[in-house]
Amino acid sequence: MKNFTSLLAASAFALLVAALSTATHAAERIIVTEFKDALGFLKPVPVNVSGFTGEADSVLKNDLLFMGVQHVPLDQAQYLITGSAAGRVEGRLTDKPTKGIMLNKAYSGGSTRQQIHAFADDIAKALTGLPGIAQTKMAFKAEKGPGRSEIYIADFDGFGAQAVTSDNNIVSDPEWRGRDMLVYSSYKLGGPHIFSHHLTSGARNPVARHPGGNYSPGVSPDGSKVAMILSKGGSPDLYVANIDGSGLRQLTKTRESESSPCWSPDGKKICYGSRERGATLLFTISAAGGTPRLLSTSGAPTPTEPDWSPDGKWIAFTSQTRSGFNICIVPAGGGEAIVLVDGEDPSWAPNSRAILFCRGRDHAKQLSLLDVPTKQVKTLGRILESNSQPSWAK
């Protein structure tokens, strides 16, 4: 009896060791360089999704795509995702070669769609180690016609869009501050002026209401400061202030216009566009002020609308050529730009992999999602006449 017990114990222990080593092995395989492409992005992890139907199936596959997990035929898959959305979402993630179960969960509450998003985030976290984005929000500008627009928020995939403003005037360039406040510019009182807008209470407060133009707010990663363009001094220049508008500081002083400031994720630098040298170019400057440094974007002319990736590695921007606008990325230190797809106004996802952008003719634009490494694009449904200036909540 004693011998039998020992034998059972020993074999079970061996099994445990085997299971652990498999798990460790799987984790290691994900971060080694062969799983990254030439730019350092994780290559799409091939999975096969089964058991889900209709909306649950398409939402899950779409979520995964923009988190670096791609649905492929069974024989090409390395991992299996099985489950169902009947009643509640239940799902399992299995390593196909070893049959080791990596995830096995059920989800309750919310809608089926929300449960699927939560499952997708769990899968992405398990397979890539990157933060999930399926439960994130975005804000954008929706136009009813020229000169009449509102700020909207929606899920990252465009679902559940809802108006934040009802000014029947011009609003522009929404930016998130945390997950419950937007900062944008509005022509409601002339201006344009910059306001912060608390999403829970609806309260709006001025960030900048100086004489002349107040626009293009960029909120610092810690939410304490706003970089923006003000023309109070007689020319559109770059300024920084605290979120309540106090402590205003002028960072550039040029005759030509500056535009579209964004922050580095450590909050130390600001990247912006300037016509200072004739042609439009991107510059970086210390957030505390200093000498601007040219950011080279070789191969991508007329760069505007920079957006710094949350991991600090890339700056996405819009390049303008004779044939139209392109979404590009360039290493944050400058260099050779990579042209991705046609479109404008990129906004990085929190996972530094997906990008929201817009494309189309003026007053008839549509938002789209882009998986940067694979250049796969999904066009989102349109609200009102024209959607632009997306901002992904980080």
């Binding site: 114990a9 969960k105 522009s172 360039d173 609806g202 709006r204 133009g213 559109p236 508008g245």
Partner: protein, 220 residues
């Protein structure tokens, strides 16, 4: 000692078996999704859009408790913000309630070259006419300069370019003797095209500085 070790191994084995069985037949755990359809904007229901003119939602702009005009700027080393910017400081007056006349100077709309903000020599004559009338027939009135762009160029880039265009027209009018305090500007970027077309002819009409005559409330 040997017994103790066996008991220990048995415990490990049972725990492990339970875990493995659990993995195969049951669920590790259930994740509860908080909130309703829009958890990110709290549980109090959909955001109610509010009129910013109503309910005193926008308090007077007074950061730091001084300078209601908001001119308390700290400059970077190297220039003195009190000595102005590269251009002429903005009109600080409030022209809310002034009567707008967009027709008076409709023929004096200033047109710009693609991606340029300088007033072309061929457009200066229009501004000379405007300046003459403002100094004479329209003494005491103000002029709002609206800067516009064509659709080529990104939205916020064009907002800045339209701003720069309006300010260039204003600088020219100041050179022609008008009071900068009576020349407020506004940029519309590409928001309000004069011609909704998508060709050269439309773009030419859209790259413009429009002049709106403003009369004090109660005047005619």
């Amino acid at each position: 000692m040997k017994l103790a070790k066996s008991v220990y191994l048995l415990t490990v084995a049972l725990t492990l078996s339970a875990t493995l069985v659990g993995c195969k037949k049951g669920l590790d755990k259930t994740t509860s999704i908080p909130g309703g359809r829009n958890a990110a904007i709290a549980d109090s229901g959909p955001t109610q859009p509010r009129d910013i003119d109503r309910g005193g939602i926008i308090p007077p702009f007074n950061p730091g408790g001084n300078n209601p005009g908001g001119n308390n700027v700290t400059g970077v080393p190297g220039f003195d913000p009190t000595k102005g910017d590269a251009g002429i400081g903005q009109a600080k007056g409030d022209f809310t309630g002034w009567i707008e006349n967009p027709d008076e100077f409709a023929n004096q709309t200033v047109y710009f070259e693609f991606d340029k903000s300088n007033v072309k020599p061929s457009e200066v004559g229009k501004l000379e006419e405007v300046a003459k009338k403002m100094k004479d027939a329209f003494k005491g009135k103000a002029l709002r300069i609206e800067g516009h762009c064509d659709e080529r160029g990104t939205e916020e880039y064009n907002r800045a370019l339209g701003d720069r265009r309006a300010l260039s027209v204003r600088e020219k009018l100041v050179q022609l003797g008008l009071d900068p305090e009576m020349l407020p500007t506004i940029t519309y970027g590409e928001e309000k095209p004069a011609d909704p077309g998508h060709d050269d002819a439309a773009w030419r009409k859209n790259r413009r500085g429009q002049l709106i005559l403003l009369s004090p409330p109660g005047s005619n």
